[in-house]
């Protein structure tokens, strides 16, 4: 079983992995005056659940060898599934951080964390089991997903990603009439989760009723 950290329950990730991911994703999408960052959005919860999905074990991916790293144009060629890659890469990055800074990644200063992440992004960090660029690309992709996907997947909690950009989520039934309209349309975002939790009523065709946001 996984970890329980700050009231959140994890099925795959361990306590140390959650601390790593909370710290790393928060550098990628930080909390600022515009609103919550990745940690508050629950990106690590999203990653945990995503790793337990069919994708996390590459259930629908081609899994036969022989294995070669290939060129960047040939895409994902690791023998490791995403589950295995997260586990190996987090452990090996923490070992690097301990050797270089004397601390695990999550205990570094923000500047040091950015230094490590930037090195990974440009494949400058030499990890034994996985290309650091491949892991960074995976982490960044999953972070964006966790911040902007529907909250049914555990991230984007409180629709914070959608509020940030002004995306209303599940569409309302009046879009057809609004299509050619120059007026700016603003509404409180509605997620599939909101609808399934009964927080937002829907019409006969399943479209939610949007609550308009008045311009500031």
């Amino acid at each position: 079983m996984g970890d329980s950290t700050e009231g959140r329950v994890y099925g795959y990730l361990t306590h140390g992995e959650v601390r790593f991911l909370d710290a790393a994703t928060e550098r990628l999408i930080p909390t600022d005056e515009l609103g919550p960052g990745a940690k508050a959005a629950g990106v690590s919860v999203y990653i945990d659940r995503h790793l337990q999905s069919e994708w996390g074990t590459h259930g629908r991916q081609y899994r036969s060898g022989p294995w070669q790293e290939g060129t960047p144009q040939q895409g994902y060629q690791s023998r490791l599934t995403p589950q295995e890659m997260y586990r190996a890469a987090i452990r090996e990055t923490d070992l690097h951080c301990t050797a270089k800074y004397g601390k695990n990644f999550d205990a570094l200063t923000g500047e040091q964390q950015d230094e490590v992440l930037t090195a990974m992004e440009h494949d400058k960090l030499d990890l034994p089991s996985v290309s650091s660029r491949v892991f960074f690309d995976l982490l960044w992709r999953n972070t964006e997903e966790g911040f902007f996907a529907d909250p049914i997947y555990g991230g984007n909690q409180g629709n914070v990603g959608w509020k940030l950009v002004g995306f209303p989520g599940v569409s309302s039934s009046n879009y057809r009439e609004l299509l050619g309209n120059k007026d700016v349309y603003r509404a409180e975002p509605v997620s599939i989760l909101d609808i399934k939790n009964g927080k937002v009523p829907v019409d006969g065709q399943g479209f939610p009723k949007h609550i308009p946001i008045k311009p500031v």
Binding site: G59, Y62, Q73, L164, G166, S171, Y175, L178, L179, Y185
Partner: protein
């Protein structure tokens, strides 16, 4: 391997139930033939499988949906050139073939443009105009073996099946205002009116008019009103809720096999659909000149031999080509000696874009879908190649409002960091203030770009995977540089705060999504030395085998292939009914 169980014969086996298979089945069953469709994917119904609000799930449909091909059983291998070792495409990225009843068209974007007359005879037309050296030396692009005039009635037929909405620009030779003046003459108006113009489309249209171009609302196959189609299937008006391209539609508004064809097809007494049945081989008799049926594997892993008087391959470009190679039909292409045909003429779609940003304007980019777009064809076809260029090919330019979903649609100005606080600010600032001018470009075929069987990797049945060898050619890169300049002029005339052209890709990568427009491998044509099928889509080698679909494109035009693929289905079905069945088993050319 066990001996397959032999089943009762049928008149026609159709492999695949997508945009091509569904129409061919319908037309042949209508003609009284006993038709069996074998589909490797599961069955689906719009009302049960694609319901609100679950269809509005970007994460699922952007990457993980079970309507896409399950690569754990079968994928392709890929390399940029012949000196590399091809490796399996382990996850979907650049394109998303389907694996379901209804096929890849279940998640198409509804772009329903006809090719231009120019596209069908591009080789002879441009060589006639500019000489033999106009095409790059290694270019294998060629005429289709049919002209636009030959196939126009079948475009018309497809448009009345798929309920295409648009405004005619050339009706029986008469140029009409508001339409595309550069299109080929159409015999009849569209069945449905055009999409509404968005504010972004309006800005684009004005800028185009200033520059002397001719903007129009691009044709779309998401209903612009309630519509009863040619097969008496009802399609409802599109709600413009976004979540369209790569998504299935919950509204029955997107014309696709499940909405436009299959409900009527299932009522045909001489038709049967068998889902979860994967055809692995076409069987031939001892002469090798006649197909006797197919072998397929069902969901339980049992093998069956299905005898048939004729076989129609109607699958995605890759699978049509692979089944021919696995069955020994047609000579495999050898790029070294430049001989053989099966796997030759592989091409893709050249994409580019210019993005612009307004500080003082906001849009509603999430409203749309169903291919709402304002376009120009002034940089396409004959208009562009009325004077010599240093490249072959062209593009249409469009502002599309597909419904911007936030995982993938977050344009930011040039120079924005990839992550961190500055990235977050730029995303928040620009999601609603951006516009994108899409460059939808043609892709020629070349000697070194081809499909064959991989020497190493196998599918779950132990059969070789298809291998793709492809890269961006200098010709397409030159074309994109030219388009970037021209389209930047349009962007500038829209008076945004900033704009930039995306740099053309230097190498083709299988990772980022580009388009599900993989073409060729079983080209149609007039010469058996350079084509797999004749103009009726009939195999030159085995006359009771027809190979229909994207595989038949000798190269890819700018317009987007689906409308032409649908047209080819109507054309091939008509040829089978009107010509082939009068002398079955005989070459039609």
């Amino acid at each position: 391997m066990t001996t397959p169980t032999k089943l009762k014969p049928v008149d026609a086996v159709v492999v695949g139930s997508g945009v091509v298979g569904s129409i061919i089945c319908m037309e042949l069953a209508n003609a009284g033939l006993k038709v069996l469709c074998l589909e490797r994917g599961r069955s689906a119904e719009t009302q049960k499988d694609f319901v609100m609000p679950y269809v509005q799930d970007e994460l699922k449909f952007d990457r993980h949906s079970d309507i896409f091909q399950n690569l754990s059983r079968e994928t392709i291998t890929f390399r940029n050139n012949m000196s590399e070792t091809a490796l399996p495409m382990r996850e979907l990225g650049s394109f998303k073939p389907g694996e379901i009843v209804g096929g890849t068209a279940l998640h198409w974007g509804c772009n329903a443009r006809r090719q231009l007359p120019y596209d069908f005879d591009i080789r002879s037309r441009l060589e006639g105009r500019f000489g033999k050296k106009y095409f790059p030396e290694d270019c294998t692009s060629q005429d289709w073996g049919v002209t636009y005039e030959d196939v126009e009635p079948y475009y018309d037929q497809f448009e009345y099946i798929y309920g295409v909405g648009g405004v005619s620009g050339n009706l029986e030779g008469k140029i009409l205002p508001g339409g595309n003046p550069h299109e080929g003459a159409r015999s009849r108006d569209y069945p449905n009116p055009p999409t509404k113009r968005t504010p972004q489309g309006e800005l684009f249209a004005k800028a185009c008019e200033q520059l002397g171009y001719h903007p129009f609302q691009g044709p779309a196959a998401a209903m612009t009103r309630d519509y009863m189609n040619l097969y008496k299937n009802f399609l409802g008006e599109c709600a413009r809720g976004g979540f369209c391209s790569s998504h299935a539609c919950s509204q029955g508004a997107k014309a696709n096999p499940l909405t436009a064809v299959i409900p009527a097809l299932m009522k045909q007494p001489t038709f049967e659909m068998r889902p979860l049945c994967n055809v692995i081989k076409i069987l031939k008799d001892s002469t090798g000149k006649k197909a006797t049926g197919v072998v397929y594997v069902d969901a339980r892993g049992r093998q069956f031999e299905q005898p048939a008087e004729m076989v129609v391959l109607a699958t995605y470009c890759f699978n049509n080509t692979r089944l021919l190679l696995l069955s020994g039909i047609g000579q495999p292409y050898d790029p070294v000696s430049n001989t053989g045909v099966v796997g030759r003429n592989y091409s893709y779609q050249t994409g580019g874009r210019v993005e612009g940003f307004f500080d003082d304007k906001e849009f509603n980019p999430f409203i749309g879908g169903g291919m709402v777009n304002t376009s120009i064809d002034d940089l396409n076809g004959d208009v562009l190649h009325s004077q010599p260029r240093d490249f072959v090919g062209s593009a249409y330019i469009a502002v599309s409002t597909a419904g911007a979903t936030p995982i993938k649609s977050k344009p930011v100005p040039h120079g924005t960091p990839r992550w961190g606080g500055a990235w977050k600010k730029a995303v928040a600032q620009n999601y609603r203030r951006a516009f994108s001018l899409g460059i939808h470009g043609s892709c020629m075929s070349y000697r070194g770009h081809y499909l064959d069987l991989d020497p190493t990797y196998k599918d779950s049945n132990g059969l070789p995977l298809l291998r793709m060898t492809f890269d961006w050619h200098q010709n397409e890169q030159k074309m994109l540089h030219f388009m970037n300049e021209k389209v930047s002029e349009i962007a500038k005339a829209m008076k945004p705060s900033s704009y930039h052209a995306r740099a053309p890709y230097t190498k083709y990568s299988i990772v980022p999504y580009q388009s599900t427009h993989n073409m060729g491998g079983a080209a149609m044509g007039a010469d058996p030395k350079t084509s797999v099928v004749n103009k009726y889509m009939q195999s030159w080698d085995v006359p009771n085998v027809f190979v229909v679909g994207g595989s038949a494109f000798p190269q890819n035009g700018a317009q987007g292939p689906t409308e032409t693929i649908g047209m080819l289905a109507c054309w091939a079905a008509d040829g089978i009914k009107e010509v082939y069945l009068k002398k079955p088993g005989q070459p039609m050319v």
